[in-house]
Symmetry: C3
C-alpha cells in the first residue's frame, strides 16, 4: 500500500525541514549571544548576517519544495532526491559562510541557484512529457 | 503511468516558482542600483518598497500553494490552474505597482486577495464533497 | 474517485491557511491603529511584536506543511490532522501572547515546537517503514 509512495522525496523533505529548524535555532543562539531580544531584528553585524541568512532560506524554501517534488514525481525521484541533498548542503555552506562574512555567502548562494536550476529544468521536462502524454496522447521515449 | 498526474497544477506551480525567483532577482537589482549591501534591508524608499513587495509575496506563497493544489485536486484542476495564472499576473501587478509607489500596490493586492478567496472557496467545496463521500457515503451531484 | 484522498489533511491545511491570512490581517489592523504605512516595518513595540509574531508563523509554515502531510500520508492521517489542529491553536496562543508582551510568546512557542516534534517523529517512523517496505521488502507490524 505504501510501496508506491515517493519515500525518498519525503525523506529529503523531512531532512530539509530539520535543517530549516536548525537555522532558526542558530538565529536564537545568536540572539542570546548578542542579547538581542525579540521582536528586535537589528544589532551587531554578526547577528544581522545570521538573521538574514535564515530569512533567505525561508524565502527560498517553498520554491525548493515545489521544484523538488515536481522534479521527483514528473521526472525522476532518485535524481530529485539527490538534488535535494545537494540543496541542503549548499544551504549549510551559504549559512555558515554568510554568518562569518557577507561576501562568503556567495559560493553557497551560487550552489543553491545551480541546484534550483537543475530541479526546475528536470521538473519542466517532466511536465512537458506528462502534458504531451495526457492531453495529446504523445509518448516521448 | 504519468497520465493521471495533475500536470496543469504542476505547470502553474513551476511558473509561480519562477515568478518568485524573478521577484527575488529584482530585489537584488535594486540592491545594486541603490548600493544596499546584504545584510542591510533598509535604504531609499524605492529599495524598501521593492524589498517589501517581495516579502509580501513570500508571506503568501505557501498559502497560495495550499489553496491552489487543494482546489485543483478536490474541486477542478483546470479552474484552479486558471486561478493560479491569474494569481501570478496579480502578483506582478502588485509588485510593479508597489515599487513605483506604496499606494499603487493596492489594485494588485485586491486582485491577489480575490484569487486566493476563489481558490479557498472552491477548495472548501471540494473538501466538503470529499468528506461527505469518504466518511458518510453521501455523494452530492 | 475522491474517496481515497487525504481529506482531513486538506481540511486542516485550509484551516491553517485561513489562520495565516487572519494573522496577516491583524498586522494590517495594527498598521492602521499605529499609523505605520507600508513599506515601514518599525514602529511602537506593540506593532513590532505583532509584525514579528506573523513573521515567525510565516517562517514555520512550510515546515509545518511538510511534516503535517508526510506524517499524515506515511504514518496516520487522523493523528496528523489532530496534530495540525493543535498546531493552529498553539500558533494562536503564540500570536495573542506575543502581541501583549514579548515574554508571553513563550508558552505558545513551546506548544508549537512540541507539535512540530510530534509530527516530525511520526513522519520519520512512517518514512522508515515505507523505505523498508519499498526498497528492502521488509514489513514491520
Amino acid at each position: 500500500m505504501t510501496s508506491d509512495l515517493p519515500v525518498l522525496l519525503a525523506a529529503v523533505s523531512i531532512l530539509s525541514a530539520l535543517h530549516m529548524a536548525f537555522q532558526a535555532r542558530r538565529v536564537g543562539w545568536s540572539r542570546m549571544k548578542h542579547k538581542i531580544m525579540p521582536p528586535a531584528v537589528t544589532g551587531p553585524p554578526e547577528f544581522e548576517r545570521t538573521f538574514r541568512a535564515h530569512q533567505n532560506s525561508v524565502e527560498s524554501y517553498s520554491v525548493f519544495l515545489v521544484v523538488l517534488w515536481i522534479s521527483g514525481i514528473f521526472f525522476n525521484e532518485v535524481l530529485a532526491a539527490l538534488g535535494g541533498i545537494v540543496y541542503i548542503v549548499s544551504r549549510e555552506i551559504y549559512f555558515t559562510g554568510y554568518i562569518s562574512e557577507s561576501k562568503k555567502r556567495l559560493p553557497g548562494f551560487f550552489l543553491v541557484l545551480s541546484v534550483l536550476l537543475f530541479l526546475t529544468v528536470t521538473a519542466t521536462i517532466g511536465i512537458i512529457q506528462a502534458f504531451l502524454d495526457k492531453y495529446l496522447n504523445i509518448r516521448l521515449l
